[in-house]
Symmetry: C2
Subunit: 897 residues, 2 copies
Amino acid sequence: MAQKWVYGFGNGKADGKADMKNLLGGKGANLAEMSAIGLPVPPGFTVTTEVCTHFYANKQQYPDGLKAEVDKAMAAIEKSVGCNFGDAKNPLLVSVRSGARASMPGMMDTVLNLGLNDVTVEGLAKRANDERFAWDSYRRFITMYSDVVLGLERHDFEDVLDTYKRRHNLTSDTQIKADAWKSIVAEFKQIVKDKLKRDFPQDPQEQLWGAIGAVFQSWMTPRAVTYRQIHNIPAEWGTAVNVQAMVFGNMGDDCATGVAFTRDPSTGENFFYGEYLVNAQGEDVVAGIRTPQTLTIKAKEREGSKLPAMEEVMPDVFKQLNDVRHILEKHYRDMQDIEFTVQQSKLYMLQTRNGKRTAAAALKVACDMVAEGLITQDEAVLRVDASSLDQLLHPTLDPKAKKQVIAKGLPASPGAAQGKIVFTADEAEVWAKRGEQVLLVRVETSPEDIHGMHAAAGIITSRGGMTSHAAVVARGMGRPCVAGAGSLQIDTKGKTLKVGTVEAKEGDVLTIDGAAGEIILGAVPTVQAELSGDFAKLMGWADAARRMGVRANAETPEDAKTARHFGAEGIGLCRTEHMFFDPNRIQKVREMIFADDVEGRKKALAFLAPMQKADFKSIFKIMLGLPVTVRLLDPPLHEFLPHTDADIAAFAKTANIDDKRVRQRLSQLHEANPMLGHRGCRLGITYPEIYEMQVRAIFEAALEVAKEEGKTVTPEVMIPLIATRKELTILKTMTDRVAGEVGIKDYTVGTMIELPRAALMADDIAHDAAFFSFGTNDLTQTTLGLSRDDAGNFLPAYTDAGIYARDPFQTLDTQGVGQLIEMGLQKGRKTKPDLKVGICGEHGGDPDSIAFCEKTGLDYVSCSPFRVPVARLAAAQAALKSGTGKTVPMKKKAANG
Amino acid sequence: MAQKWVYGFGNGKADGKADMKNLLGGKGANLAEMSAIGLPVPPGFTVTTEVCTHFYANKQQYPDGLKAEVDKAMAAIEKSVGCNFGDAKNPLLVSVRSGARASMPGMMDTVLNLGLNDVTVEGLAKRANDERFAWDSYRRFITMYSDVVLGLERHDFEDVLDTYKRRHNLTSDTQIKADAWKSIVAEFKQIVKDKLKRDFPQDPQEQLWGAIGAVFQSWMTPRAVTYRQIHNIPAEWGTAVNVQAMVFGNMGDDCATGVAFTRDPSTGENFFYGEYLVNAQGEDVVAGIRTPQTLTIKAKEREGSKLPAMEEVMPDVFKQLNDVRHILEKHYRDMQDIEFTVQQSKLYMLQTRNGKRTAAAALKVACDMVAEGLITQDEAVLRVDASSLDQLLHPTLDPKAKKQVIAKGLPASPGAAQGKIVFTADEAEVWAKRGEQVLLVRVETSPEDIHGMHAAAGIITSRGGMTSHAAVVARGMGRPCVAGAGSLQIDTKGKTLKVGTVEAKEGDVLTIDGAAGEIILGAVPTVQAELSGDFAKLMGWADAARRMGVRANAETPEDAKTARHFGAEGIGLCRTEHMFFDPNRIQKVREMIFADDVEGRKKALAFLAPMQKADFKSIFKIMLGLPVTVRLLDPPLHEFLPHTDADIAAFAKTANIDDKRVRQRLSQLHEANPMLGHRGCRLGITYPEIYEMQVRAIFEAALEVAKEEGKTVTPEVMIPLIATRKELTILKTMTDRVAGEVGIKDYTVGTMIELPRAALMADDIAHDAAFFSFGTNDLTQTTLGLSRDDAGNFLPAYTDAGIYARDPFQTLDTQGVGQLIEMGLQKGRKTKPDLKVGICGEHGGDPDSIAFCEKTGLDYVSCSPFRVPVARLAAAQAALKSGTGKTVPMKKKAANG
């Protein structure tokens, strides 16, 4: 059988259906589907995406037989509507639209009223008994066609229209009479002739093939090509072309055109939400020249509109439309975004597709539809965009409040916060202790600022990207943060912040919106996030469906509590360096670093040991019954040292060490590339006493909590930055020895896999590890050779050029880094089939990365506390999509439900 | 058939042979071999390595049947020599020695005279008619046995002996009479009784099994275990034990003992080289108490010795020994290192093995043996240690000269150099221009010092390891360098260098020995390396045997000339940044970096373009007919900027830029981890005009040289730091466009593979690359997460702990990084079967790494000019060993030759 190039639809029948999007494009497939289920769709046909592919594979030639199929399909439309294409008395007009699998910028949109020429316009006028309508349609057609098919400038035509209106003191196109349109059309045709040295095409067949060709040509515009490159859409997919009999919303007051959502897309309420205009064509609704009217009386009242609702103006058609709304929701089992036209009191459906919605709406629609029996719980889980949950978990600015935005930065950590600004971490802590709510303002933050970031309600930086220290730590802590607000001039010594003419001093109040990246003068009221019953319901369904565990990265009691509140099933990464930065301890930590020998270090460590133990006890108590993975000291020692002259002097004095020696040691410890330096397990190998103190503190804490609470506590000791099995062997041996000395039996030892070599050698390393946790932040840095701290200088240019589709520190580079994760997991499990494998980088809270983890077979993901619900949902979705979910397959369930 | 645990030898027969080293150990296998070919070997037997393995696999129990086999073998010895073990009148004495596959520190060495006790000593005395000899032998036995078998301290025994000699004013053991020995032996036995609360074992069987057990025990001493871990020797290999009838070199003046090499091990001359002592046991030769005598009269004359040569003293035995020498060389086809004993004018051979030799000797021996028809050319190629060639290529200190070493550092780059010391690169250049020979002294060097390093005859630093900037660059340039001499106190401002009480000022003369890491006061005469005809001969044979190409990393005309002189077959890495550091250009480079926009940058680049073109022209001319791979700009821009206050002020003034702006830009360009920062192709993507200038300069230079010389020049443009195919696509498109504009057709574009992601995605990247060059320096840094600049702080500790057997920046980490190289090559060739693949890191000149490259199937290696001969030889050896060599298989050749 020869290949079929054209698929017709109309009159309750269709060659295609909704699941043929690859062949017919999204628009064409849904038009076919609506037609097939008996909805009023103007008859038409779809030229398939395969024609597009053939077109480009064959020097822009159409396949044999296409012309005949199009002719046949046009004849079917003619028969259906009772007019003929190009007929002088009873002309058929059509619309031509592109329709790829997904809507794509750069593609040709629409040509309406195709088939009009100097002859048929008269026929149309007579048939409609409305000369003005016919010439209005003709001028619209000439404008659109000249723009999108002939490549002329739209504004050349609009200028003519504007000039006419100005000259005649008119404000609206509707005021223009038929004769005026005639002369305007003449001018339009002259423009075409002047520009192209030929007449505007009068032959409807030429018009039709011109428009079809223009759709295919638009597939290769630079903008479309770039978009596809960035979104990894293969050029071979191609676009379809939809040709459809015109229906007119602009034939008089019994005509209308409109768009609607079957439910409220911002709240999710089951409420018919939309707009329409009487006597208008589709483009008028979007153009915003006339004020659109509501569909329902209820909506009109809610919005306080004075314009009559469609329900009042054309109650019969409205009822019909409302019926269609219910039919579509039942049929598609999702909220729909529709376009319709009413021609002489008859309703026509021009488009339907799943409607975009806010996070809150998605949640409500999904839960309501389960209650209504429309979808299963698993489907509900799949209906909510996991990333969007973030919006629901943080307080937000009161949308009704006024605000003066003084600067914009990156939306580094969501939520709104306000407070008096301070310029150092120490000040933040001092002010917070005396009960002030503060915002910490820094050029950029470093680990020394952690206590100040904790003390602050929010953080502002003028430098750094979405994965700068400030951004990462703030997200981890759930503190709102606007990072990299480059227009801010921060004078830390002078304690002022300038931007343009605005200056704010220490103590002045600012507000930030971390989701929008806005910095606002003064205090703006915020609204606390309320987690609805729907939220709990959906999380419950997600938990039932997911295979992977979800843990949190947390190291303070506060973080641990938040994590547990949000449903974390343990801690996947408890960093221990944070505890070293505490202002009460940092002096001793520094003395430890300055000690001349092991004994000196041990003395300082003995001071720190009980504090670490207390930290661990409090976390083990909060997470009682759940696993806690503690990572031993990771950052290079110089991160703990004083850097400013004042700090150096202060430390030297307190520690009673010569100032010069302090500086000498600082220079000794300085590293050219600290990321690749003396850190992680390398500290444990060279200064075993540090790791030994930490391990002892962990084990003693576990035993004491177990005794106090009467429940076993099983700490998981995690060794960072392993590159060779031998490193792990040495440190595991030490850990086992200390365990013996302390007398603990329930514990495990595992490792981060965060260097390419560790992934490559995972089979060897697994011999000594009870678990692996992929540290994808560092693994991404080393695999891509890309410093997270420095990438800000060129990563935006890279993303613009489509080199990395997305920031690889936010969404896992599954092609590259992903290979190492797969390798690490497979090799590790080859040695030890029951090896527990998780991920604890920033990616652990990113839905796309979570999907990769599910596919790869990881046991759990670990993310910052505020991302835990996102991860729970994303893990469930990944499980359902890959068929690894715990629940029964969807279709069966749907059949049962 | 039951397993055979014991292999006997003696009387012209043997159960084993030379190629059974795995089972019999090196010593045992060669004893068997010598016995089998009829050489006079005292009869004995070898307990196999499998007994050792069994011993440790079975709770230190010997296998069933071992006892019976040993008894049988002892009986065979008894029968052969006509004495009986433990017999009061005619006692058999034996030696017991360990013998693993290779000699290993920490293993038990030797127990001589085993079988002596209070009774047999009398029998021995009577049989030898020499009471003194018998009791001397007994005291030797007690000392050795107590030390190595009973675990007592040797010095406790030596103290007794020393006390006796002091008390009796004796200077030599030979002056001690029989009765004295008797009383000393009594004291020795008392020591044993005091320490162990039991008598020294009198039962010869107990002695024998004690000694055998001690050999096996020594296999597991911590020192042996550590050695095996570091050298990757499996514990399962085990050691053998050799038991052999004693022969006595100490029974009178017709007795002797000696060691010899069949040729001179320092020159390679075919000259019998060795020492012997009359009336002595083996240990006396080594102990150095008596002055050993020469073997030949010729040697005696050469050395001006007054002691008679063996050739004179015992001409018959000497003739016999000289015959054995020739037999062994013919049989083993290599220079041998032998041990022998003469007992009452009868020669016995106790050991033979391949002799260690200097590089010069290895070269001469190999060439001579080919001429003598002993070995094939391919074998000769395999006989010379490739690394050792380094010794032959650089001038060395005159070994006869006196020298005062004031400090030691790392032997960072071989060769000797002397000169007046200067403390800055600029001074070095100034002094050198006025004809002075200088040594550049720096705390550490940076790319800004390159011109000074070039100008200097040698380099000294007080900081940095074997792979510090100074070390790497110096090796690349062939400049001698002593790096990381930590005891030096360098005062750059004061222009002095202090070490202990010695102080040297600018202009004072020092000498360095880069191969020894020595810094010497004053001028020490040097000897220029002379490349012998043998060298050229061997290189010719190597070139005939190797499969891989050998190129050089070179970017100056001087380097390129050296490379070509040493036989490089092209340039594998021509860095272009060096050209930017030139003092005449750096100002413009900096202005380019400070330009506000593309136009400003282009202006500065226009100044640099003709200079780059001239650089390329000169290199293309030197390498005419050979390929040249040019790498586009790689280091981050901040490396080019001024850093000291003075430099900043000077630059700001010349460039007419505000000082503040200069500092601002410096801070903007500062990077936390420059190694992972804005460098390599990332510069080409963000500042395309820089790469475009370079590409244009390369192509124009190539065309001009081609025209001038009438020969095609085919430059290979290499893009650094590629992580994604898209980066390469963008830059290749640019390169192709410029090529079109310039009008060049003969060129290729390829990429470095130096990031793990590039290796992982090599199949994708290969679509746009004509060649790959593995940049193993950076690939090692990223794969291991290890900064070359910072590793010095902990890498020594790591090597000590056996975590990395060798510095992974010197010898490729084949287990980890090697996987990525294999992957990159295989994936690349899958896409493009004819993809040319090389390596251009430091590893390209390391023989072990070269062997890996051969095995993996790379097309070429590229290394610093002075390593080219090393690489040529190593590549040939690797090819011959893996059977990928170009010549016919060795055995056939040997048969033909």
